[in-house]
């Protein structure tokens, strides 16, 4: 059932077994999962079925660090959430993303890659992907020739993205929510406070307001915040009874470690070697490939798990509209590959590395060879999607400004960590060496990485993948929630979404968000089946397996 929150009489106490805050990918996945169980669900969504300026305005915030997008353009605040403008790229996290890496502080999940296998397969169905498998062997036919090479011999690994239609969760799953007898979805319901029971580590109720001016509360046995990587932290940071610094903030970790997946240009491949055609795409658009260094190479070189995408054509860089001062770059090539370009090409040709592909290019015969009149490009743009490192100074805080409902807005200080640029440069240079070793051609390192400064230029853009602000951890000293996504100091409060990711890898997070949400649903159901006094009393052994504490 889906109804308007403004129709709930002022002062009402809405009761349910589980209250979910946010009807985006995570919230809807959670509600669908619980709908099949013997529990009642109250799903609170700030927006309605369509975009609304006044509601979207609640997302506005303040940027205090390096340039970043206006916050109200990074998310969508209506039923279906940000899936309403989702591009649909899906790839699971890599096994190494879960591993502790001594050179990356705060790395290592106490969840193993295998623990998410079944959930990831289910998430693939929810995202309407062509296949549950992300194994390269199952997708090679739809990827460029390079993905059929023995990549591991060269220190490369492949990543497979499948493209969702993309699934608009509101449109696709709205009818199910509407039909679910035990799910009550309230549109236009904005949580403005989390009220704790007095002298307790249990949430008592949520305070809810509508833009129509009404207010009510929701009282549940379990609460799940699924409002997004910034909003989850913002909700928890709001002062509440007995917790002036918010909930889950006993270790001053809440809101910290704000991470994204910046996509940065790292260079150009001039394809000229005997394998120069390997990068040419073979066509289907339902699958996209990415390249990275193998886990062994990463560990040996102490590098994060960056992933590289190679696109045909000369690199250009479109500066985000928000960075108007840089607009002149929009019309300019990103880098000066012309310098020495012909010289390198001629020298390689002379040294016989030139193969049939490049020879045909030089002699303008390739179009005849291919028979389609089209020449594959000899330049490829190389982009790197970062594994952004957790940095305590990259954080969400509460701004002094308040929104229309009286809640303090979010203040975002997005920051890079020391050494991140070097990690990108080292990854890029190793990739360049592999391009040479595979006789594909030569790699040109982009200008900003040639500069030996440690700072990132301001035109480097962040994406919309907000992660890390309510990270999972062993205790409040290093995070906000436990490895079952239960807030450390609020045993009936759970968090869904990428805000719980302790590290973010470089895979688009939606698929993993849904997989983790399905896993969380099982924990919530398990907790609800037990007396409240023993919830959240597990410890984790060295391998990350939960063990009950007597």
């Amino acid at each position: 059932m889906i109804t308007e929150a403004r129709e709930v009489p002022d002062g009402t106490v809405v009761e349910a077994d589980v209250c979910i805050v946010g009807a985006g990918a995570a919230g809807i996945a959670m509600a669908r999962r619980l709908a099949g169980e013997d529990v009642s669900v109250c799903l609170l969504e700030s927006g309605g079925f369509e975009y609304d300026e006044a509601t979207q305005n609640l997302y506005k915030g303040v940027i205090t660090g390096r340039p970043y997008h206006d916050l109200d353009v990074t998310r969508l605040r209506f039923f279906g959430g940000t899936t309403n403008h989702w591009s649909g790229w899906c790839s699971p996290l890599d096994p190494i993303d879960f591993e502790p890496r001594p050179y990356l502080p705060l790395s290592g999940w106490r969840i193993r890659y295998e623990d998410l296998d079944g959930y990831t397969a289910e998430a693939a169905d929810i995202c309407q992907l062509p296949s549950r498998s992300f194994e390269l062997a199952d997708h090679q036919a739809n990827l460029p020739e390079i993905y059929r090479q023995p990549l591991a011999e060269h220190g490369l690994s492949a990543r497979v993205w499948q493209l969702s239609p993309p699934t608009r969760f509101g449109e696709t799953y709205g009818p199910e929510i509407e039909a679910a007898e035990r799910v009550r979805c309230l549109l236009g319901a904005n949580v403005v406070g989390i009220q704790m029971q007095e002298a307790s580590d249990l949430v008592d109720h949520l305070r809810v307001k509508t833009l129509a001016g009404t207010a009510f509360s929701v009282k549940a046995r379990a609460y799940v915040l699924a409002a997004g990587g910034i909003e989850n932290a913002r909700l928890l940071l709001q002062p509440t009874n007995g917790r002036p610094n918010g909930i889950g903030n006993g270790g001053d970790q809440l809101g910290r470690y704000f991470m994204l997946h910046p996509m940065v240009p790292i260079g150009t491949v001039m394809a000229i070697g005997s394998n120069g055609g390997l990068l040419q795409s073979s066509g289907e658009d339902v699958v996209v490939g990415g390249l990275g260094l193998t886990p062994e190479e990463q560990l040996r070189r102490e590098l994060p798990n960056h992933v590289i995408n190679v696109l045909p054509g000369r690199p250009t860089w479109v500066a985000p509209a928000a960075f108007g001062v840089l607009k002149r770059r929009v019309r300019k090539p990103l880098e000066d590959t012309d310098a020495l370009f012909d010289d390198v090409k001629f020298v390689l040709g002379d040294l016989d590395e030139i193969g049939e592909y490049a020879y045909a290019r030089v002699s303008h015969r390739l179009s005849e060879m291919l028979g389609d009149g089209k020449l594959p490009p000899d330049l490829y743009t190389v982009l790197l999607r970062m594994e952004h490192l957790p940095n305590p100074d990259s954080r969400i805080q509460l701004a002094a400004e308040r929104d229309a409902l009286g809640s303090q807005r979010a203040a975002v200080n997005w920051a890079f960590s020391e050494g991140e640029k070097e990690g990108i440069r080292d990854t890029a240079l190793r990739f360049g060496e592999i391009v040479g070793a595979m006789s594909i051609g030569r790699f040109h390192l982009t200008d900003w990485l040639q500069e030996k400064t440690r700072e990132f230029p301001n035109w480097i853009d962040g994406d919309y993948h907000h992660m890390g602000t309510t990270r999972m951890s062993d205790s409040l000293a290093t995070g906000v929630c436990d490895w079952d996504c239960r807030v450390h100091d609020a045993r009936n409060l759970y968090i869904a979404g990428s805000s719980v990711f302790p590290t973010g890898g470089s895979s688009n997070p939606t698929l993993s968000i849904i997989a983790m949400t399905l896993r969380l649903a099982d924990h919530v159901l398990d907790d609800l089946s037990r007396p409240i006094g023993v919830r959240g009393m597990e410890a984790f052994d060295d391998r990350g397996a939960a063990t009950a504490v007597d």
């Binding site: 010289d343 391009v435 040109h444």
Partner: protein
Amino acid sequence: MTRNFSEDRRLILRLAASTAIIAATPAIWAGPARAGGGCGPDLASRLAALIPHADSAARIGGRYLAVTPAEADAGLLVSSILGKQEHEAAGDAVLRRVVGENRQRDFIDGNTVSVDGWVLSRTEARLCALVALQGA
């Protein structure tokens, strides 16, 4: 590990038109090339001749030498390119094969240099440097 040579742009700019600079400083560049550093000058010439686009090679080589002046010695470059093995009697096809193998090995081992951002094998950069010296 790749060395980035573009950082010393001031020096590179001074040598931007490398062939012209090289031609203007024969005492610095040509001396070692003629001396051969212990190898036959013929071998250096034959290696340099593997790249008919000498102007292109010289521009790359000039940039390489600008930041590695200690390698401005033809004999040293020849032995670095070919290794210690005796190649005086080898034919051009053998030289080409050895250069190719060493270039490949460089990329695998990470023995590369970044010349104006281009990631090149150390061997091919040195070969270009040899061409630059030969043209001086």
